[in-house]
């Protein structure tokens, strides 16, 4: 969290009037909406959320036990902001961008104490700055003035802050500097350092939003294969507890081909965040082979951390994402879970005694959700480049009921819907994304990419799989009544084929070292192999071979082993040949 530095206007301190959980009111405080204030003798961080006459209402980002009326409230005069600069990757923050490792050191305890603040980036550390402009050049807001090697994977670009005027460069430095030292000076007197601040509730400006045409390749078959997400697109993953939301989110964070990943653990489990913290530095990035952590920024506000900081962690995350987008990177942001964020809004709102909307959520729930998702997109940048933010939000509907307000308001905005299904999870079919309910509105605009980069007939093969799965859903209703053997032979065969689509292709083992990531070519070839079986089998059926003999060929169960096959190209070649051979032998 950014500390207030300019104290040109000395603010009047206020006095606490009342305390109720995270909501505190103060009298005689001279503050604007959304100003950050320090509350009580311990200086707990809070934010102004309502002003009524002489009373200011503050949501406090820390536990308020023991805080009482009469204690002082100090205003910083600045809105809640994040520190932006090199050092954010490979970091883990709480909901107001305090680095958790620094907090541990400062507090000297494994438990989170109160009233300790720390800047979001290390202000002392020096970075190697290489200028990209020279004296006399004119720069405008958003322009890159130099670069810093931030991690092994990512080159950090130092930009003219968007709220600067810009002008002619009068002096440029090169070498090692701390983030607060000036590296470029402009004729307007503006000084550019590697450190920027930006208020989290305000979107960073960018140029025009464009239509995304490239997929965010996730390495997950059901996502890449059936319901793709575009780079710059939005997706929602709703599902009841135990259906695998978090594993799905983590798989995306690990394997998607974004340049930068911002992972927000919003009101979720502490142990899960620890798993991410322990795993990511060791896992290799599939694109570069460097540690995953080198492209990842983690925000962990677990369920037992203060509720107001849970409300703000989503904004902290998206602001960091926007900053990297401005450098021209493709950023993927995972928010797990947006329901906890909505509940935090509900909790604060009810403490403010606002008139509740549906199910106690505030009336502005829909507006807040759409404001957040609208910060995603593929953008033309002011500096001429292109950058994108893809947002994937998990939703935790109570009782798994998708008709509740958070799910419904989210679905009105997002264009990809990955519906998790507890029945599938109970059968340990993972990822338990229901193929009948899910959809992606990006499929068509991404088709040209798939044709060009994977296979010419990719969209057709995908459509074939969708059709088979649809037909299966219909047939299953009949099977429930009369049993499978009562169906005509061709329909029995369809069921057999769809079973392979489900078990060999849609199912993917996140815990298997090979299967956990599946490149689009492999996704395509696996499906093509099942289609080969399908085509050969139907030919044989027409020639009069009984369905049982066809499905009992030795090669067929090998389809289930394609996912874990390391040398998959050879494996699938061999498998397709033996399927052809063995079926043709039957007639």
């Amino acid at each position: 969290m950014s500390q207030a530095q300019d104290t040109e206007t000395v603010q009047e301190d206020g006095i606490i009037n009342s305390v109720s959980g995270p909501v505190v009111t103060a009298a005689d405080l001279d503050a604007r909406m959304n100003d950050v204030v320090y509350v009580g003798d311990e200086g707990l961080m809070g934010e102004v959320i309502e002003i009524e006459g002489n009373l200011t209402t503050i949501q406090v980002y820390e536990e308020t036990s023991g805080v009482g009326p009469g204690e002082p409230v100090e205003n910083t005069g600045e809105p809640l902001s994040v520190d932006l600069g090199p050092g954010m990757l490979d970091s883990i923050y709480d909901g107001v961008q305090r680095p958790l490792d620094v907090l541990e050191q400062k507090m000297g305890s494994a438990f989170l104490d109160r009233g300790v603040d720390a800047p979001g980036i290390d202000l002392e550390k020096t970075w190697e700055f290489t200028p990209e402009v020279s004296e006399g050049e004119t720069v405008e807001p958003g322009d890159v003035v130099g670069t810093v090697p931030e991690t092994v994977t990512i080159e950090h670009k130092v930009m003219v802050p968007p709220d600067y005027e810009g002008g002619e460069v009068v002096s440029v430095e090169e070498g090692s500097f701390s983030v607060e030292e000036t590296v470029v000076e402009l004729s307007t007197g503006e000084e550019i350092s590697m450190h920027q601040e930006w208020p989290v509730r305000e979107a960073r400006p960018a140029g025009e939003k464009m239509t995304p045409t490239d997929p965010l390749v996730t390495g997950q078959r059901i996502q890449d294969g059936l319901f793709p997400l575009a780079k710059g697109g939005t997706a929602a993953i709703p599902g009841p507890f135990g259906s695998g939301k978090t594993v799905t989110q983590q798989q995306l964070a690990k394997w998607s081909d974004a340049d930068i990943v911002v992972y927000i653990g919003c009101g979720e489990r502490g142990n899960e965040m620890t798993e991410v913290i322990e795993d990511f530095p060791e896992l290799p990035d599939p694109q570069t082979g460097n540690p995953l952590m080198a492209r990842t920024c983690l925000i962990a506000n677990t369920s037992n951390m203060p509720v107001a900081a849970r409300e703000s962690c989503i904004y902290t995350g998206i602001t960091i994402a926007e900053y990297y987008r401005d450098m021209g990177y493709d950023v993927a942001l995972m928010a797990d879970s947006t329901s906890r964020w909505a509940e935090a809004m509900r909790e604060i709102s009810s403490r403010l005694e606002e008139m509740p909307g549906e199910e106690g959520y505030p009336a502005y729930l829909a507006a807040s959700l759409s404001e957040f998702y609208e910060r995603a997109g593929l953008f033309q940048l002011f500096n001429g480049g292109v950058g994108s933010i893809s947002v994937v939000g998990a939703v935790s509907p109570p009782g798994g009921d998708f008709s509740e307000p958070v799910t419904q308001n989210t679905l009105r905005i997002v264009k990809t819907f990955w519906a998790l299904d507890s029945d599938l999870a109970e059968k340990r079919h993972f990822p338990s994304i229901n193929w009948n309910e899910s959809y992606s509105l990006y499929s068509q605009q991404l088709d040209p990419w798939y044709r060009e980069n994977v296979a010419q007939d990719y969209p057709e093969v995908r459509q074939w799989a969708v059709d088979v799965l649809d037909e299966e859903a219909e047939l299953q209703e009949i099977v429930q009544l009369v049993g499978k053997d009562a169906l005509p032979e061709d329909q029995q065969l369809t069921l057999e084929v769809s079973r392979y689509i489900r078990e060999a292709w849609l199912q993917q083992d996140a815990f298997n070292d090979t299967d956990t990531y599946c490149e689009p070519e492999k996704t395509y070839r696996m499906l093509q192999a099942i289609k080969t079986f399908n085509d050969e089998a139907f030919n044989a059926l027409e020639a009069g071979v009984p369905v049982e003999e066809i499905s009992n060929i030795d090669a067929a169960p090998q389809l289930n082993r394609m996912g874990v096959a390391e040398e998959w190209n050879e494996f699938i070649d061999d498998l397709e040949n033996s399927i052809e051979e063995q079926i043709r032998e039957l007639y």
Binding site: I16, N17, S18, V19, S20, G21, T25, A27, T64, S65, G66, V67, G68, P69, G70, I92, L100, L103, E104, A110, F111, R114, F241, G242, G265, G267, R269, G270, N271, E272, E275, I277, T302, S303, N304, V307, E343, R346, E347, S350, E353, E359, S396, P398, G399, G400, D401, A425, E426, K427, R428, Q480, L481, V482, G483, D485, A486, F511, E548, P557
Partner: protein
């Protein structure tokens, strides 16, 4: 310390009093009734001149002349290693007739959140000796794994069985002088009869001397229930992170705890959330459940097994629903299995352990564990699906393989899940039963298991005759 006789309103468990000094949020209050009783309470809201107080023992006997004292501190739990072997009431006062507790420290019962950066990821397998848990939904140290049950189901027996049998086999084999094991038992609103059942078992097995028992019975004040689990967890954290114990915390019944929250919410005239429960119930429950785990550099651990009875056996009810979103899985008790006499009646399909995958496998349990588990889940699900169909079309209409799945599902319940409350199975025994059952199915149906493992463990004699038939027709 100032005394006030300024009570303006008494409503349900709440008392409102006027004050002329600042009072801190969450501060502890003592109220003396005209009869001379002292009641304790906590500040729920503090504004200039007026505080609302939630009284733990109930507001009976308080009138407007009662005097109110503010103690100037938040609720603390006196902790010491000597608590082991003691029985306390729901507010932490000894009720076993033993000596007074001389605390080593007094700790805030609200408890700060563990910094996620300081946590250590739990991956030490705990063998509970119950196949349905060890084999299918493995518990690990530092996990929070609730039992979702219903009224009249034997969840207490299961909790006791786990408390009795839980060991970490690795440490035992290695002869390592592992940290000591302690049980903290927090009872909220359970009946005196249930309480006796627990106490008898603790005494019979000698477990009491390594336990701390907190008892809030059904006829104790409801509001006190909001304090009991916090007392229990504060004690657990102290024993685990300062005295290096491996602590197992059993909290029963979380449903009563949530009812108490609702009661307070209603008395405060808050805007209610689903089914009248307060909107902050998720946060409140998280502040309890998240107090489980391991901390880097400390030897101890806190493992939680909260028990809750689902109203109407409905797992979408807010209490199980919010719990499931916070805890790392759940163990589901099943009424049908119970009436079939399966003991323990655990339905493995909707049960789940999220931390299982890192706690099993070579070196932890056995190399084939993960594959066997996946296959058992899939085969059992298939068998259960077919049961519906069999009711309509009869067994004869099903194929040979389908019939095998049906038999598999039956035997799975009767041999794998069924084991009795006094049987303690090692993980090897559990997995061998798993292989016995899987060998009923033709080899090529075992598509979740690595082929080498099938070669190693598959019982040819049990499956052979059927396998030949299945491929012949």
């Amino acid at each position: 310390m100032k005394e006030y006789q300024t009570i303006t309103e008494i409503s349900g468990p709440l008392v409102f009093a006027e004050v002329d000094e600042p009072i801190g949020y969450d501060e502890i209050v003592e109220i003396e009734t005209p009869q001379g009783d002292t009641l304790r309470g906590q500040v729920l809201e503090s504004s200039d001149g007026l505080v609302s107080i939630q009284v733990f023992e109930g507001t009976g006997g308080i009138d407007r002349n009662a005097s109110v004292r503010f103690l100037g501190e938040t609720m603390k739990m006196p902790v010491t290693e000597d608590l082991l072997g003691r029985v306390l009431d729901g507010s932490g006062n000894p009720i076993d007739g033993g000596p007074d507790i001389v605390p080593e420290e007094r700790q805030d019962i609200v408890g700060a959140a563990i910094n996620p950066y300081s946590r250590e990821y739990p991956e030490e397998f705990i063998q509970t000796g119950v196949s349905a848990i060890d084999g299918m939904n493995t518990l690990v140290r530092g996990q929070k794994l609730p039992i979702f049950s219903g009224s009249g189901l034997p969840h207490n027996d299961l909790a006791l069985q786990i408390a009795r049998q839980a060991t970490v086999p690795e440490e035992e084999e290695g002869g390592e002088e592992g940290s000591e094991f302690a049980v903290i038992f927090g009872a909220m609103g359970i009946t005196a009869e249930e309480a006796n059942e627990f106490m008898d078992d603790f005494e019979r097995t000698g477990a009491l001397e390594r336990s701390v028992v907190f008892m809030n019975l059904a006829d104790d004040p409801a509001v006190e229930r909001t304090v009991t689990p916090r007392m229990a967890l504060t004690t657990a954290e102290y024993l685990a992170f300062e005295k290096d114990y491996h602590v197992l915390v059993i909290l029963t019944d979380m449903t009563n705890y949530c009812e108490a929250l609702r009661e307070i919410g209603a008395a405060r005239e808050e805007v209610p959330g689903r089914r009248g429960y307060p909107g902050y119930m998720y946060t409140d429950l998280a502040q309890l459940y998240e107090r489980a785990g391991r901390i880097e550099g400390r030897d101890g651990s806190v493992t939680q097994i909260p028990i809750l009875t689902m109203p109407g056996d409905d797992d979408t009810h807010p209490i199980p629903d919010l719990t499931g979103y916070i805890t790392e899985g759940q163990i589901m008790m099943d009424r049908d299995l119970n009436s079939q006499g399966i003991e323990p009646p655990i339905n493995v399909s909707p049960s789940l352990s999220r931390l299982m995958d890192d706690g099993i496998g070579e070196g932890l349990t056995r190399g084939d564990h993960a594959d066997v588990k996946d296959q058992l889940f899939a085969a059992y699900a298939e068998g259960k699906d077919l049961r519906d169909l069999v009711n309509i079309v009869g067994r004869e209409a099903l194929s040979e393989t389908d019939n095998k799945y049906l038999d598999f599902a039956d035997r799975f319940e009767e041999e794998f899940v069924q084991q009795g409350n006094d049987t303690n199975r090692t993980i090897d025994e559990t997995l061998e039963i798993g292989w016995d059952l899987l060998s009923m199915l033709p080899k090529e149906q075992l598509n979740r298991i690595d082929e080498d493992l099938i070669e190693e463990h598959y019982r040819e004699d049990e499956g052979e005759s059927e396998t030949v038939e299945a491929t012949a027709d």
